[in-house]
Symmetry: C2
Subunit: 450 residues, 2 copies
């Protein structure tokens, strides 16, 4: 009988990250300067990123060595456990085998520190003393705050004002790790002051918080900017998840027929999926499914275009699936899945047919999460619940067809700070929102020509 | 070099709990019926507890086999990791070695499910379909709710009204695992109705919540009562913690010179400590320290007497250290350490000189917790922070004296639902309260004569 948790020794934590850019049949299109429409150069990025991360962003080396100091901090929670979801299988009366990789064991409670620790390390190595970033509900801000303590970096987090006021727990978590948390928009930046002058009562947005963090980093020599998803180097750092999962499955003689991961900006998905994408390139027959909300259906309804990474149109243009940078996310509870775009790498791989995608309504997603809590015990984040929903649906199909598939779910984190969302679900207050196709078309017309 | 985490295989989860009653030089005095002052009989307890747990309460067998079904559920989070606190050691520049056993990995986030799962199992085996219990801030209620899902038991939790209203997250967690949570006092019980008639605006207390849960259990055939601390069978189930810790230390060739655990009702302390108490009885030179708040200094200022387990004077009389059952705890943030008494077993062992005790002020406890968060990453519960404080103080003494002691800290859980307390600490709002000796004396005069 398989153990409930398939574990690895600390010595089995991967020593290298996997760079999917090395193996993509078609290379990624370059980021473009929105003014000149010319490819962005490393020099363009130097004011806000350290050289090592800029190199990783465009590297085509297959393997990137994980610095020993980073691996040492990973050991606080890595290798993360891979679970055989025996109780869930039994409840579903499915012949499928369900495994899930559980990133909820990290101190900030999600997969995010896999990259925040790496980013903090490279910035410290480059002589940077301070990092600025933005955060919505606080998941990424707390991961970077956690990383900052280990490298004696000051962390400055611009937190969307409405979350700052309504979700104090994540703020306090960041402050406990020593970060300075500023409700955004703030008086600290030109971007913030300008907006406050125009609209003193604004509750903020991720777009304006990004603008403030980038300005903070660009205008101070000791400060860089740090981003928690979307970019290639972020996806790279997360591959430690999938690399471990492969080793763990291998220990019990298993290989997945199908892999589920939720996609917001794409970093969690890249983490669980890219090592299996590598196998697909080598001819392995593995299906890899992006799980997203119907309320923000970037892959299933968006288009593959050049678009800005932010609503304020400050970033380079990136080739990605997008709903349009002016997309206003409905108030669904999977805060991390409300981004208008997707990681260029995930987008490209999906566009070229290496990935598939499914979108789920909110209520069935919480129903799946609750079934998971009742059987496997863990109360997962609403984001992670999308992948759980994908896996459960597959297992149910197997129950009908008799197929004995092996299912792998990337389970990105716990829902301890999302319990209000579970309460809304229990009260029957969640709306099953579907983003209308017409709005996508309208938004596409506003995209810059390249 | 030692790993950061010393882990065990699932097959190394202990197969038996350790019963310290087998080895105590002097047996525990019996519980007394408060009316007759005669020892409580098993029959007295049958309306609310299953036979197996009543047997464990008085058993003097050294080892009690852990049922296979219970061990299977333990595997969701056990064996829990033992950490070598390398970063903390470095920060303190201490020659001491610091290890901590981390129970925060369980789905409810603390050590509590070690016993809730066992209690749910024995009740289900006895044909019970429903369990009633009380909870303050919600730690125990969520552990029992979690256990209930695994044995198809309905769980009814009476939650102190002020917590029900002010701390919704724990309530929602319980409801997500399917429990029914009732703010106490309620209209559901005679005890609740009586109190509401007298004082309709009461915010409740643990005392009245206990009364309601016991009444619920005593008046329904399908329902038993479940208690999360204090009693001998609860302490027994928790010993899985210390038994694992011993194996883990053994793997790296270590044995503690001193063990720290926080004491509220005593179950967490029993868990980490009793297996080492066993070694003391066998002549091992290990110091074992109870850590408690100065605001509720049960061991350091209370007296060893027969007292009621609850403020409502409904329970049997128990031989224990107590501040008096009319003790009104000051509003400190370590909610689990505000109990007026202590486990009779912990009390007896302390009284007979096998344990020592230290009391700590609130602010230095949070200072220690914050240092721990900055070095080891984990944000611990305020209760657990007391043991962390004890361990850090010891390590600092070693830094001064040069002693190379091995320190073991029982770290009972995470503080994800206690972040408001950290915020109060950051704001400088925490009071370093010391419970006055005179009040203890006054309370002692009200104790029943036996």
């Amino acid at each position: 009988m398989t153990d409930t948790k398939i574990t690895l020794k600390e010595s089995e934590i991967p020593t290298r990250w996997y760079n999917v850019q090395a193996d993509m049949p078609e290379p990624l299109e370059p980021y473009l300067n929105p003014g000149t429409k010319e490819p962005v150069t490393p020099e363009d990025l130097q004011p806000i990123f350290p050289g090592a991360l800029i190199e990783q962003e465009v590297s085509r080396d297959r393997w990137v060595t994980i610095p020993e100091e980073v691996r040492d901090i990973y050991k606080t929670w890595r290798p993360s456990p891979l679970y055989r979801a025996k109780n869930l299988e039994e409840e579903l009366e499915t012949p499928a085998k369900i495994f899930y990789k559980w990133e909820g064991v990290s101190p900030p409670g999600s997969h995010k520190p896999n990259t925040s620790v790496a980013q903090a390390y490279y910035n410290r190595e480059a002589g940077i003393e301070r990092l600025a970033t933005e955060t919505g509900a606080g998941q990424w801000g707390s991961a970077l705050s956690y990383a900052g303590t280990h490298f004696d970096l000051d962390i400055s987090v611009y937190m969307v004002k409405v979350s700052y006021e309504q979700k104090p727990y994540r703020r306090i978590m960041m402050e406990t790790w020593g970060a300075e948390v500023t409700p955004s928009p703030s008086e600290k930046t030109q971007a913030g002051r300008k907006l406050l002058e125009r609209d003193p009562d604004t509750t903020g947005s991720l777009g304006i918080a990004i603008s403030e963090a980038v300005e903070d980093a660009a205008t101070r020599d000791d400060t860089n900017y740090s981003l928690g998803s979307v970019l290639n180097h972020v996806a790279l750092h997360q591959t430690v998840i999938g690399l471990e999962a492969k080793k763990q499955l291998d220990k019990v003689g298993e290989y997945p027929d199908v892999v589920y991961g939720n996609v917001g900006g794409g970093s969690n998905f890249a983490g669980i999926a890219f090592p299996f994408v590598n196998d697909r390139f080598d001819g392995e027959d593995v299906e890899i499914v992006c799980c997203e909300p119907t309320a923000c259906p970037t892959l299933t309804k968006g288009l593959f275009r050049y678009d800005f990474g932010d609503t304020a149109m400050m970033t380079p243009l990136m080739p990605m699936y997008t709903l349009g940078h002016d997309f206003v996310p409905p108030a669904i509870h999977a805060g991390g899945l409300r981004y208008h775009g997707d990681s260029p790498l995930v987008s490209k791989l999906y566009h070229d047919g290496h990935l598939s995608a499914e979108a789920f309504y909110q209520n069935p997603v919480f129903e799946a999460a609750e079934l998971f809590a009742h059987t496997e015990g863990h109360i997962v984040a609403p984001e992670a619940a999308h992948a759980v929903k994908g896996g459960i649906d597959q297992a149910k199909r197997c129950a009908r067809t008799g197929e004995e598939k092996t299912i792998l779910i990337g389970n990105s984190g716990h829902g301890h700070f999302d319990l209000a969302a579970y309460d809304e679900y229990h009260q029957g207050n969640l709306v099953d929102y579907e983003y209308p196709e017409e709005l996508v078309k309208e938004s596409m017309e506003k995209l810059p020509e390249v």
